[in-house]
Amino acid sequence: MRRLYSALKYVCAVALVISLIALVAVVAYVLINGVDKLSAELLFGDYKDTPSILPAFIGTLQLVGIAAVIAVPIGVASAIFLVEYTGNKGKFVKVVQVATETLAGIPSIVYGLFGYLIFVVAFGWGYSMLAGGITLAIMILPTIVRSTQESLLSVQGGLREGAYALGTSKVRTIFKIVLPSAAGGIVTAIILAIGRVVSESAVLLLTINMVVNKIPESLLSPGTSLALDIYYFASHGYPDEAAATAVVLLVFVMMLNLLAGFIGNLIRKNTYGDTK
């Protein structure tokens, strides 16, 4: 029996090594192929004739902005309603739960198709940053609702009762006690959702149409994003530029993840203080 246990340990260790190799291989491949193409020209150069990711960079920021402005308030407010006003139980909550979980699991191309049929075609906006941004907002909404819900539920029950016992109204309890306690988790969830927006490509192919050599004039113009540029460069004979763009995207996502951890910890520390 004991031998079996120690064998399990080695099986797990081998599995870990395989995961690490896969991860390192991807990052290393991208870095090796991409770094020497990372020039000022690619980053900020004239995008009309030579490949440059400046339009993609601006496009990505626009998409993040639109998606966040729409999805964050709606998502957080929905979660507050579910947890604070319905007690997070009952049939209605159950239905919403199943719906958000299902929506979170739908392949993004399906969201893309929806955005294309509704915003691009039915609303007549054409391929546009606005159509892309709103579709992305819809895509990350379930994730934000779900993780905000979890953060609110993890606020110690006694705190709410403590506030009510002092004659505090529900609204004040939510804003002064519950949200500050849950803020760390909520902010982390939002930043990770933004990470999904940054790395999304399927939705954008169908909604903003990959116009790589033009900075969008308005929110109703088509455009591109970093992830789309990788696809464009790779399929138009610029594999090294694609890798270089991938480096930028990797750094971007990594920074977002670090930022998520950092801000989350900062808020947690601010709320819970030097308790250690």
Binding site: L159, G162, Y164, A165, L166, T168, D274, T275
Partner: protein
């Protein structure tokens, strides 16, 4: 507060100072201000000691710093914890020990200037020394407000209570002066309970 508890059942009338507390006309937030509550488990808010105490006065619209300072100091003094915390009012309340947290929660209730203080087994999560401090505190406080304490500790009841009520499975079995209840109980169930022959 008990309407927040699931499966809670009530009979009879509940009056505090002549006001029916379950009357639709009664403002529940004013009621909760007048009736402070201390919970079994200390539940300080995750903020500074000062902000914890200032929370209730701020809720009722007091924003002037000098007034708040006064309330904070007064409440902490009444909860006899001022000397321990006066140098770290800006520190997070969660860094305090369990007993200190519980006295902070008492101070927080006092800051709303309640007329009645409900204490739901306030010492059951605390060590004997902290328990002693809280009992001393209750002796002090009961001079100017009514304290209703729930306890499973009969010695505690005899030490601090003037009047005792014995509840069994939600039914009020007996109520009277503490001495009478513990020395010559009228109901057989009370006697069996206080002599430890129950259940």
């Amino acid at each position: 507060m008990n309407d927040l508890v699931e499966g809670c059942r009530m009979e009879g009338e509940y009056r505090i100072g002549g006001v029916d507390i379950f009357d639709k006309e009664t403002d529940v937030n004013v009621l909760r201000k007048n009736v402070g509550m201390v919970f079994q488990k200390p539940n300080p808010f995750p903020m500074s000691i000062y902000d914890n105490i200032a929370f209730a006065p701020r809720t009722f619209g007091i924003t002037k710093k000098s007034v708040l300072d006064e309330i904070v100091e007064g409440s902490l003094r009444r909860a006899s914890i001022w000397d321990e915390v006066k140098d770290r009012l800006r520190k997070n309340a969660l860094g305090m020990s369990g007993g200190q947290q519980q006295r902070l929660c008492i101070a927080r209730s006092l800051a709303a200037s309640p007329k009645v203080l409900l204490m739901d087994e306030p010492t059951s999560a605390l060590d004997p020394i902290s328990t002693g401090k809280i009992e001393e505190l209750m002796e002090e406080l009961k001079k100017d407000l009514t304290i209703v304490i729930v306890t499973h500790n009969m010695q505690q009841a005899t030490r601090i209570a003037d009047k005792t009520a014995f509840f069994l499975l939600g039914e009020l079995v007996e109520y009277g002066n503490t001495d009478d209840i513990f020395i010559s109980p009228k109901d057989e169930r009370t006697e069996r309970y206080i002599t430890g022959r129950f259940g």
